[in-house]
Amino acid sequence: MRHPLQCIQLCHQRSDTGGSLLLAAAGPRIYLYNVDDGALLCSWPEISPSTDGKNAEFSPEAALEQGAKREAPESEEGPPGKRRKVSSSADAKVEDADRKAKSPPATELPAVSIVSQSPDGKYVVVVTSEDKAIRVFELLDGSTLNALSTRCMPKRPSSVIVTSDSTILCADKFGDVYSLPLLESEIKAVSNSEAEKEGDISESREEVYVPAATHLTVHTARNRMALENQMRMANKQVEKTGPSFAHDPIIGHVSMLTDMTFVTLEAEDGKRRNYILTADRDEHIRISRAPPQAHIIEKFCFGHREFVSKLCLPRWQPTRLVSGGGDDCLFVWDWLNGKLKQRIDLRPEVATALQSDGESKNTKGEPLQQKSNIAVSGIWDVSISNATSGKSEEIESPVRLILVACEGVPVLFSFSWIGEGIAEPPQFLNVEGNILDVAVLPNDSSIFITIDSSHKASSLTELREDETVPGLKAFGWSAQNNAWTKTSKFNNILETINGSNGPGTEVSPNPKKIRELIYGIENLRKRGYEE
């Protein structure tokens, strides 16, 4: 079994020859491809030619040695908190069959969970999940990824954005948004004293432990005993301290953050205003000002009844917001005013999608009833200029689409955007597996889709028997048919990536780990039990 491609992203920067660059992540690795000729330009961590499964050379620390000497120890001691067990002893039941193929998990690498980049495309930011690390790469000569830094966050990041002023905004699963400098030189600039001051507000780091309670604050016999115990233990306890690099908390929800976007709008006075939109598991979409005024909450968008998982601001109308999550609906907002404009029911579409998939392939997918929940896993905006169709003289307005993927659904829904909102019904783009990620080629009316090649279509648990399903697909927009159609334009890269030496083949994946990595959305749903 090969590891599916959980993330793909087209680089804003182009290669030396002017071609587009595609970043793809499979398990713990990222790969950089030239879209035109399909050549693999670079991969990380570097695959040493001598490796044969014993993967000592795979160590990301080794790859980072130059760039992050200062940070390397940090990543090792890291926050011990809730580190996932990487050894598979607990999962024995699940992948007995798989066990044989598996190499010893001696130094299993953390899986890539997010791939992002700076607006100018010069830097690529990758989040690896188990070590909660934000890793910054420089894209050199349009062909090489040069690792610059690794910073282990206190909690697992769920969304990472690089703003145009070289700041990383990181939203995490504990509900906080941190602002970090993108580059190492700026990281180093943080003096110890400043870090101390920082620690002062975020975490108490007293050298000598003094219990905060006193004999005046505890009233029961048992509490008094506990306090005496604490006093006795004093100084032996060492409180955990936060990371030493600069990371300013700027926004905080008391909930798990699921997605975040950053947008600049021009106000009536002609000035530019930056906003941060954050979404959480408790149905909230919060509109805050961006730093330096991130402490000001402008609005909330109320209406979701289940968790929110994805936010998308259509680039042609960024005052609108499309959001989705555990509800049956997609929501369209006038977010500046906190007003709900549209609710698009996804339930019939998902039902149809699953039905048609079951019929056409006759697979024994999950029965429809079990799919009673919808979990939106991706929303993308696509704007296709129709200039190329050129049959008539008149300038046609661009085709605007909102693409929506739901967890465990092998269909990409392609909604037209007409006027100020979404038009129904969507077109169905059927693929052979559950959709994992979509990358839109800029101005190119084409998209790449990665699908789950390890699990059966429509199922989050059943593994495939045949493993020949290609993980990457490409589609082009056909102006004549007004629909997505298969395109041969990208055969080179499809061959490289889907070929037998493509990404995901060096990794010998653990099915449970794959599931955790690619199917985390439905797990956000509240189960309704008392504590």
């Binding site: 504990f174 509900g175 906080d176 507000i201 975490e203 108490s204 219990p211 905060a212 309670a213 006193t214 005046l216 604050t217 009233h219 409180e239 955990k240 908390p249 700027i250 926004i251 905080g252 929800h253 008391v254 909930s255 106000a267 000035k271 205003r273 408790d282 149905e283 909230h284 805050s288 000002r289 330096p292 005024q293 402490h295 000001i296 909450i297 609005k299 909330f300 109320f302 209406g303 009844r305 509240k526 189960r527 309704g528 039990y529 008392e530 504590e531």
Partner: protein, 286 residues
């Protein structure tokens, strides 16, 4: 053995509660011992909370029946407060809630403030179900004791996790006062995010408060007091009140003397640390 004792305690509680409930017009104050619950609740867990989808969908009428707008009046002239951006689908109220006692406990502060602010709606918010029930029964009894003068009609209590859902209850700039009295100290550093005050959470208090509004804090734990002061002072939307302003504020005295915890601390000769913070105007966009 312990199990059996626990059972009987619970049974007693249920018998007491159901008998208390049947006498609807009862003016007898509830007894605390039938509403005991452990002092801590995890603010991060989901619980089985009921909360409005948005402030506009919150129905306050069952909490403040004396302030429900009569049908004709609401049709003729929608109240000024409500027209400010909110289109309410629920029963219209003649007033909006302006004061929130977050973590109101057994309701001592609410009851003490009710006659002092007769024209203001105050709400106590408490995460523990039993305790919420106690305060609700207490308010019911107090209202029944004072049917003529309409006292205690302006206070109510509901169960909520305000750390997660405060903005679901209140619109931007709706509140003029927030009380944070003797909050759970969460001594361990690992638990500090569970504290009711943090710089990031203060943004939510700032959101629901109008400029000029005041947050009142009191605790007997010096470390927590310093923490709250530090985090509010670090937040650009708040400034601390001077000692003179504090002593001039009637609410401060009430908070020190009338809350259950305040009384307990007095009995134990403990210290009480107070600090109040004013909500400042938002600065213009940069």
């Amino acid at each position: 053995m312990e199990e059996a004792q626990h059972q009987t305690k619970r049974q007693k509680r249920e018998i007491y509660r159901s008998s208390h409930k049947t006498e609807d017009g009862s003016a007898e104050l509830p007894r605390k011992k039938f509403y005991r619950q452990r002092a801590h609740a995890n603010p991060f867990s989901d619980h089985l909370l009921v909360y409005p989808e948005s402030p506009a969908s919150m129905d306050w009428s069952e909490y403040y029946p004396a302030f429900v707008q009569s049908q004709q009046a609401s049709a003729a002239a929608p109240s000024e407060e409500l027209s400010s951006g909110v289109t309410s689908t629920t029963n219209s109220m003649t007033k909006r809630v302006e004061v929130a006692d977050i973590g109101c406990g057994f309701g001592g502060l609410l009851v003490a403030l009710a006659p002092r602010m007769p024209d203001t709606l105050l709400v106590g918010m408490e995460i523990r179900t039993q305790v919420t029930q106690f305060v609700q029964d207490r308010i019911k009894a107090l209202r029944n004791q004072n049917p003529e003068n309409g006292e205690y009609q302006n206070i109510a209590c509901l169960r909520a996790n305000t750390m997660k859902f405060l903005p679901n209850f209140f619109d931007k700039s709706q509140l003029s006062k927030i009380f944070l009295c003797f909050p759970d100290p969460h001594f361990k550093a690992r638990k500090h995010k569970a504290r009711i005050v943090s710089t990031t959470l203060n943004s939510e208090y700032a959101y629901v408060m109008r400029p000029g509004g005041i947050v009142y804090t009191i605790t007997d734990v010096e470390d927590l007091h310093n923490w709250m002061v530090r985090h509010f002072e670090a937040h650009p939307s708040f400034e601390r009140l001077s000692k003179e302003e504090e002593t001039a504020d009637e609410c401060v005295q009430v908070m020190q003397d009338e809350t259950e915890e305040g009384k307990k601390v007095t009995r134990n000769n403990g210290n009480k640390y107070t600090a109040c913070f004013r909500r400042l105007e938002d600065p213009p966009w940069p």
